[in-house]
Symmetry: D2
Subunit: 304 residues, 4 copies
Amino acid sequence: MNEVLHDHSSGGHSRWGRDDQLGAGNLLTPERRLSALRSIQTGALYDLSHEISPKAPFLMPNQTPFLQSIWASWRDSIRRRRAAGATNDAGSNVERVEMTMHVGTHIDALGHFSIGGKLYNGLNANDVVTDWGLERLGIEHMPPMISRGVLLDVSGLDGGAFLEPGRVVGPDDLARAADAAGVAIQAGDIVLIRTGWGRFFGVDNSRYLQGEPGIDVPAARWLTSRDVVAIGCDNMAVEVLPNPDRGIAMPVHQHVLVEAGVHLIENLALDELARDRIASFCFILLAAKFKGATGCPVRPIALV
Amino acid sequence: MNEVLHDHSSGGHSRWGRDDQLGAGNLLTPERRLSALRSIQTGALYDLSHEISPKAPFLMPNQTPFLQSIWASWRDSIRRRRAAGATNDAGSNVERVEMTMHVGTHIDALGHFSIGGKLYNGLNANDVVTDWGLERLGIEHMPPMISRGVLLDVSGLDGGAFLEPGRVVGPDDLARAADAAGVAIQAGDIVLIRTGWGRFFGVDNSRYLQGEPGIDVPAARWLTSRDVVAIGCDNMAVEVLPNPDRGIAMPVHQHVLVEAGVHLIENLALDELARDRIASFCFILLAAKFKGATGCPVRPIALV
Amino acid sequence: MNEVLHDHSSGGHSRWGRDDQLGAGNLLTPERRLSALRSIQTGALYDLSHEISPKAPFLMPNQTPFLQSIWASWRDSIRRRRAAGATNDAGSNVERVEMTMHVGTHIDALGHFSIGGKLYNGLNANDVVTDWGLERLGIEHMPPMISRGVLLDVSGLDGGAFLEPGRVVGPDDLARAADAAGVAIQAGDIVLIRTGWGRFFGVDNSRYLQGEPGIDVPAARWLTSRDVVAIGCDNMAVEVLPNPDRGIAMPVHQHVLVEAGVHLIENLALDELARDRIASFCFILLAAKFKGATGCPVRPIALV
Amino acid sequence: MNEVLHDHSSGGHSRWGRDDQLGAGNLLTPERRLSALRSIQTGALYDLSHEISPKAPFLMPNQTPFLQSIWASWRDSIRRRRAAGATNDAGSNVERVEMTMHVGTHIDALGHFSIGGKLYNGLNANDVVTDWGLERLGIEHMPPMISRGVLLDVSGLDGGAFLEPGRVVGPDDLARAADAAGVAIQAGDIVLIRTGWGRFFGVDNSRYLQGEPGIDVPAARWLTSRDVVAIGCDNMAVEVLPNPDRGIAMPVHQHVLVEAGVHLIENLALDELARDRIASFCFILLAAKFKGATGCPVRPIALV
């Protein structure tokens, strides 16, 4: 365990080398993968994602609406194929979608955030971020994620079914949740934090977006120092919003993605996992390789 | 094994019932999942997908270009956050994407195709296909796909490294490829067919799109009658293009999706699997749950 | 003057013939154009449009957000041109826009609305409305509109500066406003109705969209029977919303576009014209010829 | 007449002042407008634009495809309104469009181009060009354009019906064309140059885009020094492509937009005007006020 993965202020580079684009993805070793797969007992599967639709919440202005409409319909494609000589009625339905990659349950690429003009591994945003996406650190570089997942359920910390917006989840909260669940965070883990806030996703978006309970920087450091691969949560941003220090914007994103090279997974659906008191599991997340994208909507699962 | 899953002409319904939206997805049982997972020996992982970018080939007019551009940049998001009171320089990079769900390596939802006005399970396209997508049979209904995968490599059938456009891969070809690999197709399998055509994906798109080698309807029936869950291929459409009978458009899509309720997986990257002569494996495909979408770009993997 | 331009119920066709796609656009004769142009005295110009931006109000779900982002920036286009051999720094800025044609100040094409499955001139929507737009009656058919414009200012009818949502502007209201202004509606006129509601456009969109004052069907008939070419208003829909008969949706659109073949112009900015008490003027509106589009954002002007 | 409107190299500002965003648009005085309007004799109208559709040519990568599809159809909008309580069948047809503002016949905003990091009037591109468009110099600042138009037909210079790609139209060519037509360029004119290349627009796009005849910088200076408001042409870029000096990219754009503050109008349809040998006319162009946009598709007209 190392307290500082990456000393950004000194211009230092990632411990995985100057050319590294994987960050904590380097910890996704075949051994950890096999270990996680071998932990599966019953094959029971938990779907950790929400449906993605125009009802998915989004935080303007950096996020934008999800729009989907039918581009080619069975009616017209049959007509077009008939006109081209077909004697059968072959109808295609194909949509066109306009969206951000940060819609619904999704994972952030390492290049999603900067500290000033610097990205993960000391890369210059000026060089990397082009009109059409990321030249480096895009989501296509993230390996398939198969490793141990751990659920830290902090939803009941204040005595209710969920925490309130602005409620900081600190390192002690995480440590106690891990103890209560009987798990110790290990290198290579994907840690999923349940605040209970996910109940408002797509149900009461204005509430879901007005703020959220989440971790602060010390809690994030507590996790990244334990060499986790990713931190997920049942809210929009993993981190507490608004930040207790109103002058500091998105510090957890900055630490986790830029300094630590660790991924963030947002808008997770964790209720079923919590209901069945599943503390650790085989976690699988396979992001489509959109070249240069800053994230990807995904369908992560837990297997036990 | 049953020769006809679904007697469309008689107005019959799926053997999984009138309300079924899963089709062969019903065959994805926990037992088969566990069996596939338990087959994993070394944890070696094969990535079966191509990168998705504006260079991804598309078949106009039903398919459309993939466009990605940065919507929010680190530069401007820092400015906006500063203007809103932030004292740190927190830069976000977020793209906006315009695309069809049939871009790059992707899976087709059952509602992607019709036979005239009929969809899988006798559903009326007129009721199901709305302005904004599918009311039923959308990709969100497809379960996480974890089952045995089988590779049938037919690329060398004509003595070269790949088959030519218009080359029909028939049931006998598949049977011989299975025999050669020492595998027998079983219920619940995902069958991946390698024609060698994938070498032109994103490399020589005009060639990739001019036609393709692929299966015909008898070969498709040979597979669906064996109760496979999905048929994948290293080409655009799984099926041979142009069809030998020029008057019949996309008959394999019609049989597989509409009649059999079996998924199609297109634009797969199968070269590494073939290189290592992997005949069967644990196949995992997790499509993001885009509500009402007719497909989804994915990152399928093979584990051995 | 004819009371009924088009007897829809009898399956009759437009008085301009079975093949007509122009409707009242036929009334835009060179004589009327020249007459309007010759009425110009000082050349003073009034801009009758609002700016179009993401702040433009839209009525979901049929209307959708306006999104604009830079696709090619000076920074990257300079780099790309340098990489291609340029020795000068030629920067291009080009945006990509996602929008409906009914954004901001815009005109409706005749094919924008149907009565059941029928469009203007008895055309079948089933034939005309394809996946990608209108085969007939698209905005590209609308001639350049240069004719006499008339302002009917009814904003003060209830003693205030504007009318309230749901306030019906009836034929008598229009007749009195015309009398007060000293104008008589003539064939070929474009009639602009000012309710005062435009003050909330882009300023208080939730109010602007909650309903609006506007004309009812008798008022619309009063105008179409006088052979106007277009009816414009400083609100979203020209017609009163909600309709006094809650069971009838958008009847003015149905009468004006489908039955009468008359255009609607929405979200106009009419305050300056009213401030200067301009009752009649040379009106010019030039819609870009988007093929098959159901409308077009425009910049109409008045010249006096 | 002044030889240099704007001395860019010395850091000087526009002759219209430090805050000017109109450039030569300042020359659009009421006097010139009235003069142009009064020149109209018969009211005959020439439409100078092409239809805009997915078949419109575009120069990748800075320009992108035009895509239009029906977002709301009569079928579904009737259903939705019925479900909301309507007793009538009110069908709406509304498209969604994805496009650049430089599609089809269009005008360039002054902020469309830079010389390095400098825009018109010495503005810093770094400040002006944001994620979502131009903070200054956007098309919304362009006044309605009503002024004298002049047609310079150079299409027959080489003895054919059109000039070939790479053919430079120089200042002498323009001077002779003006003489032949009996017109002298005046301050406030909009000058339209016909090369004959427009015949390939939408007809043979690959040819249309392979290069084009057009003006060089001396010809552009010849025009801007005469205080024209805009220069239009029946090609993609007004200027000759490729540039005779292959190391210099788009120098006419740089001079005309950035140095001179003069607009460019592209993809014009000038054949009818030439057929009727119309040398001067009242030119009207009304660009919709898309805030911060770098251009706008338009429907310019000539009246005589």
